[in-house]
């Protein structure tokens, strides 16, 4: 509802748009109410938990300060390996997935084998649970004892992650390529660019912009999935927490690991939302 309002000169300051000022005031009031109700809600919940009969035992098992101090160095150094793994793997994934997506996007009968190969790869890999792939490559390949082939479980664990995520990410890229209007492809081809040049200079730059939120989502997911290589005995964060747990029967190490994973994934998730929203506004402004 909008009221016809006279220009306000109260307080000596003229607001160019009284409607916008009211909206701001209502926004501030809304934020205050939200803050207050959250405070009350969280306070009640905490009170309920901390005064419950079971709390001392829960704290002893999961939030034990002494255990925290003892396990922290091992878990943090293991987690540092997780960070290096997901950063390294992400770079490789973004590259390989792009190659697979490009192969799948080539047209014409001459490229049929390449197209078919990429489809088979994507279908096959997406159909296998990632943990199986890690076990098969991580234990299987080193056991072959082939000359010149790396034997480190860490290497093959990361390879399994890269292969698996590349298949999914290739589909993300492909959705992006398909979202670019056909007229862009035609226009590039009419200028004499080859299919690969058209993909590289015209379609992919536009496609990537369209799928950045989806790629970031995949990155958040990868951040946690790298810990799966613990099954190979790789001493990353989760594995260190497990070792501590096996020795002390205390679960604080797992909580520490969980907090560390949250500390990196929440910022990326928030950034993804922020970016998606900004992108949506930009598009609206462009089409207006």
């Amino acid at each position: 509802m909008s009221w016809p309002s006279a220009p306000s000169t109260l307080g000596g300051r003229r607001d160019p748009d009284p409607g916008a000022r009211r909206a701001r005031e209502e926004g501030a009031r809304g934020a205050f109410i939200a803050f207050l109700s959250t405070l009350v809600f969280v306070g009640l919940a905490l009170w309920a938990i901390l005064t419950s009969e079971a709390w001392p035992r829960v704290q002893q098992q999961f939030f034990n300060p002494e255990a925290f101090a003892e396990v922290w160095p091992a878990v943090i150094s293991g987690f540092w390996l997780d960070v290096r793994m997901f950063l390294g793997a992400e770079v490789l994934i973004l590259f390989f997935a792009l190659v697979v997506a490009m192969a799948r996007s080539l047209r014409g009968p001459a490229f049929f084998p390449i197209r078919a190969l990429s489809v088979v790869f994507i279908d096959l890999i997406r159909g296998i649970p990632i943990i199986l792939l890690i076990l098969i490559l991580g234990f299987g390949v080193p056991a072959l004892d082939l000359p010149g082939v790396p034997r480190s479980p860490l290497f093959w664990g990361i390879a399994a992650l890269v292969i698996s995520y590349s298949a999914y990410t290739a589909e993300v890229y492909r959705a992006g390529i398909d979202s670019v209007p056909e007229s862009q492809r035609m226009s590039a081809r009419s200028l004499g660019l080859t299919q690969v040049q058209t993909l590289r200079y015209v379609l992919i730059p536009q496609a990537v912009r369209n799928v950045i939120p989806a790629l970031l989502n995949g990155f958040v997911s990868l951040q946690k999935d790298v810990s799966l290589v613990f099954v190979l005995g790789v001493r990353e964060g989760v594995r260190e927490a497990q070792i501590f747990n096996a020795r002390t029967f205390n679960y604080t190490g797992y909580i520490v690991a969980a907090l560390l994973f949250l500390a990196v994934s929440i910022p990326v998730a928030r950034f993804t939302d922020w970016y998606t929203e900004r992108d949506r506004r930009r598009r609206q402004a462009m089409s207006a």
Binding site: R189, S190, L191, G192, L193, Y201, V202, Q206, R209
Partner: protein, 246 residues
Amino acid sequence: MKLVVESCSKAFDDKAVLDGLNLTVGAHEVVCLVGASGSGKSTLLKAINLLVPIDAGRILLDGRVITSPEVNPNEVRAKMAIVFQSFNLFPHMNVIDNITLAPRKVLGVSARRATERGEQLLARFGLADKRDDYPERLSGGQQQRVAIVRALAMEPELLLLDEVTSALDPVLVGEVLSLLRELKDAGMTMVIATHEMAFARETADRVAFLHAGRVWEESEPQLLFSKPERLETQDFLRRITEAGRL
């Protein structure tokens, strides 16, 4: 560059769009294609640029059959250029990059040389100050002029124009048409699909009326517009006149 289209046919899902179409365009000639929507103008231009494979017939460029499978389409496209109704500029590149991409990647021209040449073309058509702008910042008329400059940067011997003013506000049509007149004066061979009858009448060397996937009637513009021979041509021109377009 001489273009010959010999009994070309093309069907989309059993619907014939080109039906044994014949057309000859001589060097430095400007031919306007007129006709109702769906008469095959756009498909013909895309077929000439090898963007749409034809089902039957053949197309010759300077006596060479370009529709045979051994011919590399990119080689053919480097000699001719097509401009579309919807501009199709690359939105993620600024004006000068839009223009220099194909010369650099297809013709292998150095970046410096391509940029110089692009700047010359922009200056020639009054777009010098748009050099670094992104397409979304340009008006429709400016975008279409940039699209034509992008096509010209490939130094084509034949220019195909597919209703290049149809998506523009009426006030912007003039700037694009005057650019085309300038190109005609410079001797560019052009095939222009258009709904701008006044432009076709004054600029074209010949006008071809397309109907049902064929060139139904073609002649000098004065003759075709004042004394159309065939019933369908008369009917088309009458409807155009009633719509106030002639």
